[in-house]
């Protein structure tokens, strides 16, 4: 591990904390309908929207109404996206005259963007028209992030309020988060990206003759505006196939640093919002610290193994050492301007948060670097996590941690003055168990069917007629795919071919189901939990209450998350990355 990397990790978290503090307080005020600067500017717009939509902003919803509004909105927008993709050949802004997107691919992509996953079974520059990028895809980058924040805020309200069924009004929350937070931040952010070299235009693809007489044709488009919300909304779906490794998406080390910070910005800020709303800043800070501990552990592992490189590389007479003139390490699938350090940090940030943007190719990571990426997603995307999803997932884990500690000391478990009952624990268990079952079940299904194995690239037999030879990296590719889909992450071990004209159905269908259930089952559980919590009384802390802050709480929370994740997934990780690590050590 290079000293630069350690310094980078420290500076990164300092900047995240500095951004999260004011942003979290702003989110709290915006979602509470209080006055703030952008409301003074755009307040009239908000009122006109409510009148147009027939929404009474003072009328709040219970958890079932709130949930049904979320499901309705997601369904309608998903349908619109599917239609836009299918008919992009008849819609404007299609300079390359691309065909309509094939049915299964359009289905998979529509689910993917609606669920904040942004899994891409296609390459952006060869499949999507400017209209599709802008209307069908970038729109969902906003919407799915907005929905995530709404659910998190509703659950926080459930914790903070007492003896009520009211959790807020989804339509009001959704409009506010777009109008006052997401769109204004993205305007500034997108212009910063343009200043670094990210393109923003409506030009057709640009061609030129290269120095040796070859031709390069680079697709242009409104990339910066899509890039900003792609990162801030932890969406991760790239305009280009190479995602944030493409120089037109992420041209400089500075743009890269800001992209990483922006992934953690809102998830970090929601910790502050939580602390403000439940009137316990210490609780919010403790949750932030628990996330930071888990994240730093992952960063140290990835940074170490990527910088060390592999025996295969070392055996070829290559210089793998870090110095002031070379990055060294495992540079396959990484960009020189980011080197090992900024790539390793990005790997952890994008898989901790359910972002899924990549600035290096994860399939080419060292086995244990790749293991961390997979495990991060399997932990349920709660270490910062997706925008909103990370916060409501973390609150579920907090409830489980408090429940377990209650069992250990033989008292009724209590969270921020609310006694947890069996319904709460059942919803929390549903939240944790369903994703695990989905990941392991779908992985097993894909590995035991020919059509599932046909997508694997690492390491396929070179002779097409030869039977598929099991290889741990092949298992990792499939396991990564379903962990990513269920966790709504969207990054990939991209050697896996998830869509081809020969096999259009299998991965589209199973990944689509994994993304859908991985999004909406946890949202349902979180909303049910919110409804149940909001009904309860808040009792003042007594001498026997377990405080939801401080080192003991942080330690307990971290331990619960690691134990639940490790127990569930350790066996399958043994057959993938861990065996591969041993094979690599033996290879010469």
């Amino acid at each position: 591990m290079s000293p630069r990397y350690l310094a980078l990790v420290v500076v990164f978290f300092l900047v995240v904390a500095l951004v999260a503090w004011p942003l979290g307080r702003l989110l709290d005020r915006v979602m509470a309908g209080e006055n703030h600067m952008s409301r003074r500017l755009f307040g009239p717009v908000e009122r006109v929207v409510y009148r147009f939509a027939g929404v009474d902003p003072a009328k709040e919803q219970d958890w079932k109404q709130y949930l049904s509004a979320i499901l309705l909105f997601s369904f309608v927008t998903q349908l619109v996206t599917y239609a836009m993709l299918r008919f992009q050949d008849r819609l404007p802004l299609n300079p390359a005259k691309l065909a309509g997107v094939a049915p299964w691919l359009a289905y998979d992509t529509a689910v993917s963007f609606t669920t904040n996953t942004n899994w891409q079974s296609y390459g952006g520059e060869t499949t999507m028209s400017t209209f599709s990028q802008l209307g069908a895809l970038a729109s969902h980058n906003f919407f799915s992030a907005g929905v995530g924040i709404c659910v998190a805020i509703a659950l926080i309200r459930g914790l903070a309020r007492k003896e009520t069924t009211n959790l807020g009004n989804f339509w009001v929350d959704l409009v506010r988060v777009h109008l006052y937070v997401l769109v204004p931040l993205c305007v500034v952010y997108a212009l910063f990206l343009v200043s670094q070299g990210v393109v923003q235009n409506f030009l057709p693809a640009t061609s030129w003759t290269t120095l040796d007489g070859g031709t390069q044709t680079i697709v242009q488009g409104p990339v910066a505006s899509q890039e900003a919300i792609k990162m801030l909304g932890t969406n991760g779906g790239g305009f280009y196939n190479a995602n944030s490794a493409h120089p037109f998406e992420n041209p400089t080390p500075l743009s890269n640093f800001v992209q990483m910070v922006s992934i953690f910005a809102i998830p970090g800020a929601l910790c502050v919002t939580l602390g403000e709303r439940v009137k316990s800043r210490a609780h919010g800070i403790s949750v932030f610290l628990a996330m930071t501990v888990l994240s730093v552990l992952a960063m140290l592992v990835v940074g170490h193994f990527e910088q060390r490189g592999t025996p295969i590389l070392a055996s070829q007479g290559l210089d793998l050492s870090f110095s002031s003139v070379a990055p060294g390490g495992n540079m396959e699938g990484k960009e020189l301007r980011f080197g090992i350090a900024d790539s390793s940090l990005f790997v952890v940030v994008t898989t901790d948060a359910s972002c899924g943007a990549v600035n290096s190719m994860h399939d080419s990571l060292t086995p244990l670097g790749g293991l961390v990426a997979i495990l991060n997603m399997q932990l349920g995307e709660i270490v910062f996590g997706g925008v909103g999803t990370g916060m409501y997932g973390m609150i579920v884990y907090v409830a489980i941690a408090v429940f377990l500690s209650g069992l250990m000391i033989g008292r009724t478990p209590e969270l921020l003055g609310k006694k947890l009952d069996s319904r709460d624990v059942r919803f929390a268990s549903l939240y944790v168990l369903v994703p695990s079952v989905l990941i392991l079940g779908f992985t097993a299904l894909a590995l035991t069917t020919d059509v599932g194995r046909a997508g694997i690239m690492n390491v396929a037999a070179t002779d097409a007629a030869a039977p598929w030879k099991p290889h741990p990296h092949g298992l990792s590719e499939v396991l990564y795919a379903y962990s990513s889909a269920v966790g709504n992450n969207g990054s990939a071990f991209a050697g896996l071919t998830a869509y081809s004209t020969d096999h259009p159905v299998f991965y589209s269908l199973t990944l689509g189901l994994a993304m859908f259930l991985g999004r909406f089952v946890p949202i349902t559980a979180a909303m049910a939990l919110a409804g149940n919590l909001a009904k309860k009384k808040i009792s003042p802390p007594g001498p026997g209450s377990f405080p939801a802050h401080g080192p003991l709480f942080v330690g307990l929370l971290v331990a619960v998350i690691l134990v639940v994740g490790a127990l569930t997934f350790f066996p399958v990780l043994c057959f993938g990355p861990i065996v591969e690590h041993a094979m690599l050590a033996a290879a010469r």
Binding site: L179, V194, V199, T206, T215
Partner: protein, 208 residues
């Protein structure tokens, strides 16, 4: 019914806000404030576009071009995309090799590139970035160490001194941002364009 009306109208409003107002605003500001960067940071030579300052170029046959600085190997490919007409649009499709660390092709391709470099007289350890494929396939940079081992070859091909080539490489070498972010890097296209301008090939023309 109330929910449906709310849903449809708010969906419409949000589409207009995020897909019309927002990108239009950003595009207008970008074109006014940073038009060159917003349009791809294109590099001109003799009135013609020869590349983008941000996009790396590769040589189809590197052995035939000892006079240029070589960039990193690329897994980018050309893909025909247009659905109609006789002349399909071929676009440069970005991406990495996706080779896992044990993929046999990884070792084979690195070995081939090491052999190519050795054939040009490179001795000693080779910086790993010069023989591994980048994530985008469009990486515009190599490390200073990777440029250094090519200087003797370029100087010989251009019949000049190592010092002159070294000076050009140094002029297009950038350090870490704020001393912390990113890696020191050499801009390959900028070096090659400067080489052509300041140390043009005599006799055999390098470019068709």
């Amino acid at each position: 019914m109330r929910q449906l009306r709310a849903c449809l109208s708010i969906t419409l409003v949000l589409f207009v806000l995020t897909c019309v107002v927002y990108p239009t605003l950003v595009t207008a500001a970008a074109q006014l404030g940073f038009s060159e960067r917003a349009n791809g940071s294109l590099v001109m030579r003799d009135g013609k576009v020869v590349g983008s300052a941000l996009i790396g170029q590769t040589f189809a046959d590197e052995g035939a071009h000892p006079e240029y600085l070589w960039g990193r190997p690329s897994a980018a490919s050309d893909v025909a995309v247009t659905s109609d007409g006789a002349s399909p649009l071929v676009v440069t499709y970005s991406g990495g090799s996706n080779y896992g660390p044990l993929h046999p092709a990884l070792a084979d391709e690195i070995a081939a590139r090491v052999a190519l470099l050795r054939a040009t007289g490179v001795e000693g350890p080779i910086p790993v970035d010069l023989v591994t494929k980048s994530a985008s396939g469009l990486d515009p940079h190599v490390s200073p160490a990777s440029a250094a081992i090519q200087i003797a070859r370029i100087a010989k091909a251009r019949r000049t001194t190592r010092e002159r080539v070294e000076a050009i490489v140094a002029a297009h070498t950038e350090g870490r941002t704020l001393g912390l972010l990113g890696e020191p890097r050499v801009d390959v296209l900028a070096v090659n364009l400067t080489l052509d301008r300041e140390l043009p090939m005599t006799g055999k023309e390098p470019t068709p």
